[in-house]
């Protein structure tokens, strides 16, 4: 555990940054956990806990887009709500611009809410149906007691046109807009106070393909224009690949692999990442043959209430050996800027060579045969 921070430091120094030259860390997360208690009986004794996020470390650098990808129930949304401090972490620390914000209260967080904003998945549930667009987008100014130059209304209209909405729609209600337009309203609200960090939880998954592309391009433009830093949480690997500079893959509350975009998609190291990527349907009928090499994981993700011992993926991994059931693999940088938590990574030297394979591990997956 002690060596991990050192390694991170060297990573940040070596990897060239895309949007800015400074590899400055904007948000630093270490050992972050969130356990939701399960209570039982009249006295509400704690009977267990859903280990939604169970010890994760990562940095978000200024100006970059960090993509978080994983299946449902892997804890990616909980993680998003922890770093925006909409949830109280059970353990670990969250530092924003060097300041520990892990246990700040509502009042303590208020000044920081300007800098950290969130875009939600559901453009229907995240906008108050009784408020006009004007009220929704101007709410941040009122809450923060900020008076923009030239007044609130012109500023809100500027924001609306920034996200591609008609400024004259100021007095309309959310139900008068389509899904894609509502998502733009949510984006305008998030950008109102000129935030430094925007956490977007599945920003496009509720939208149609053609609209999805519009919103992805919008997020991209806004980043270039305003120098934003994004953490984008999504389950769609193609979208994540398109938007992210670096990507973290989560499985059952842990980060199993963290690497920059090219490295991750070019040479994934964790078997789970490999399986995840090979499962993505390729929109090319001529490559249907390629699907025959596909790795099909069997069964479902285990319950986060009692995750498997050792490596959490060992119950579904075809490379699992004895050590995987007992020892949890640490997240190590096996290449510059490519961290992976696996005893037997792909595209990298085996960490525990010659270990006894688990009986039945080879049957954990099947490959598609055409």
């Amino acid at each position: 555990m002690t060596e991990t921070p050192d390694m991170k430091k060297t990573d940040t120094a070596v990897i060239p940054r895309q949007a800015t030259d400074s590899p400055e860390v904007l948000l630093k997360v270490s050992g972050l956990t969130k356990h939701f208690p399960i209570t039982k009986g009249l006295l509400r004794r704690q009977a267990g806990a859903v280990k939604a996020v169970d010890g994760i470390d990562f940095d978000v650098r200024r100006g970059e887009t960090l993509g978080i990808v994983g299946e449902s129930g892997c804890g990616k949304s909980t993680m998003g709500r922890l770093i925006t401090r909409l949830l109280e972490p059970t353990g670990g620390t969250v530092e924003f611009e060097g300041k520990d914000i892990t246990h700040l209260g509502v009042a303590g967080m208020r000044p920081l809410r300007r800098d950290i904003q969130m875009i939600f998945q559901d453009p229907y549930g995240s906008l108050n149906p009784r408020h006009t667009v004007g009220t929704i987008v101007s709410a941040p100014f009122k809450l923060q007691n900020v008076m923009p130059e030239g007044g609130i209304k012109p500023e809100v209209q500027r924001l609306l046109s920034l996200v591609g909405l008609n400024p004259e729609h100021y007095n309309r209600y959310p139900h008068e807009f389509s899904g894609g337009q509502r998502q733009r309203i949510g984006i305008a609200r998030a950008l109102a106070l000129n935030p430094k960090l925007v956490v977007a939880d599945e920003p496009v998954s509720a939208l149609d393909v053609s609209i999805q592309a519009q919103v992805v391009n919008l997020l991209d433009d806004l980043q270039q224009e305003l120098g934003l830093t994004y953490v984008i949480i999504a389950h769609d690997l193609s979208v994540i690949r398109h938007v992210s500079d670096r990507i973290a893959v989560m499985y059952l509350g842990k980060i199993v692999e963290l690497a920059d975009n090219k490295a991750l998609y070019g040479a994934p190291m964790h078997p789970y990442t490999t399986a995840l990527m090979s499962a993505v349907p390729v929109p090319d009928p001529r490559r249907r043959g390629a699907a025959s090499g596909r790795i099909l994981l069997k069964g479902d993700v285990p319950s986060p209430i009692s995750p498997p011992s050792g490596c959490r993926f060992h119950t579904r991994c075809w490379k699992a050996t004895q050590v995987c059931t007992t020892q949890e693999p640490p997240l190590l940088a096996l290449k510059t800027g490519h961290q992976v938590a696996c005893h037997h990574p792909e595209n990298a030297p085996d960490q525990v060579p010659g270990d006894q394979p688990l009986p039945g591990a080879a049957d954990a997956v099947s490959t598609v045969s055409e």
Partner: protein, 363 residues
């Protein structure tokens, strides 16, 4: 009610001869009268499908994909309290039988036996009060004269076939005790219990994670091979249809804008909307593109479909054909001689040029 269906609901008498194809849909229209106006969900759709083949229907939400499938199942025929909400016309021929004019009893016999459906959301498509086994067995007993024991055995067999571990135990579970992927498997088992000849899958994997999606698609493919059924796969995911479909039908505003083999539609798409769909998609199998090329604007309201070509307000090439024809005349679906249909006013040459010079290089 039956009189209405007999004459064709929109008034035209149904005339037509039995086709040779296994499934043939001719000029299907499903309209819903509402307080705000007539919603033309499906407005003149025709296609054919052979046994053992898969037809993919793609389009955005509100393009009429699901209404088409419900129309084939005959689920719009009788609404609540026997009132018919939808106005349906056209012809649906299955195995030489016309379904729209058939008696409700007859269609009920086909439903579940010859045509089965997999829905998007298995939690709401299953009854929460009955065990999985009971629901599968019920579907079997409706169409077969067997006792409860035999039906239960059949349910266990099918659960085993769709890959549910310990089927003899899980047969007594309730839907909520299953995970999303297992529930979808159970629903597939239910759909297949009578070896249907036509399987309609309406967004079967949209609610599932990619790894589970891959399992389910693989399962559907295997089962199709085994039973030789025809499959209609309705989805908005071009990746899914590219893997599953032999033929593709692209819907926009309740109409088909392009139809052809999957190969043709992906490699020589002939409609600007199809170009838009392909350009909107981030691709995991290609070099990363800097920007996506989205379709501007949003899908049309089905109450107020734009005049002329329904796609004209969003089409970057709406002004290519002369005399404003895209805004006044609705383009007909025409074949180019290679069993590839498209509905666009631009000439073949214009579209070939735009596709090869402007669109394809940017994808």
């Amino acid at each position: 009610m039956t009189d209405l269906t007999k004459t064709g609901v929109l008034g035209q008498p149904v005339v037509g001869t039995a086709p040779t194809a296994f499934l043939e849909v001719r000029d299907l229209k499903v309209h819903f009268p509402t307080e705000d106006g007539l919603v033309k969900s499906v407005d003149g759709l025709s296609f054919t499908l052979e046994k053992g083949k898969t037809l993919g229907i793609v389009g955005e939400s509100g393009s009429g994909k699901s209404v088409t499938s419900l129309g084939i199942m005959g689920l719009h025929r009788v609404g609540q309290y026997g009132r018919q909400r939808a106005r349906i016309s056209g012809e649906i021929w299955l195995n030489g039988k016309e379904l729209l004019t058939a008696e409700e009893d007859e269609v009920r016999k086909l439903r579940g036996r010859e045509i089965a459906m997999i829905f998007q959301d298995p939690l709401s498509a299953m009854h929460p009060y009955f065990t999985i086994g009971k629901q599968i067995a019920e579907a079997y007993r409706v169409h077969n004269k067997v006792d409860k024991k035999a039906a239960r055995k059949r349910a266990v067999d099918l659960l085993d076939r769709v890959g549910i571990p310990e089927p003899h135990k899980r047969v007594d579970s309730y839907p909520h005790e299953f995970s999303g992927g297992m529930r979808q498997r159970a629903m597939i088992a239910m759909a297949l219990v009578n070896n249907p000849e036509l399987l309609i899958a309406d967004e079967p994997t949209t609610a599932l994670d990619v790894t589970v999606q891959a399992q389910i698609l693989d399962l559907i493919r295997d089962l199709q091979k085994e039973f030789g059924s025809a499959v209609i796969m309705i989805t908005h995911d071009l990746g899914v249809v590219a893997e599953m479909a032999d033929e593709l039908l692209v819907m926009y505003g309740g109409r088909c804008v392009e139809r052809g083999t999957a190969e043709k539609v992906f490699y020589e798409p002939r409609h600007p909307y199809t170009w838009g769909l392909l350009g909107s998609m981030p691709r995991i199998d290609r070099e990363q593109t800097e920007r996506l090329i989205p379709v501007k604007g949003s899908p049309p309201s089905l109450i107020n479909i734009p005049s002329g070509c329904a796609f004209n307000p969003r089409c970057p090439y709406a002004d290519v054909p002369k005399d404003n024809v895209t805004r006044t005349v609705r383009p007909e679906l025409t074949e180019d001689g290679t069993r590839h249909w498209s509905a666009c006013h631009m000439t073949h040459e214009q579209r070939t040029r735009i596709w090869t010079e402007e669109i394809a290089p940017k994808l």
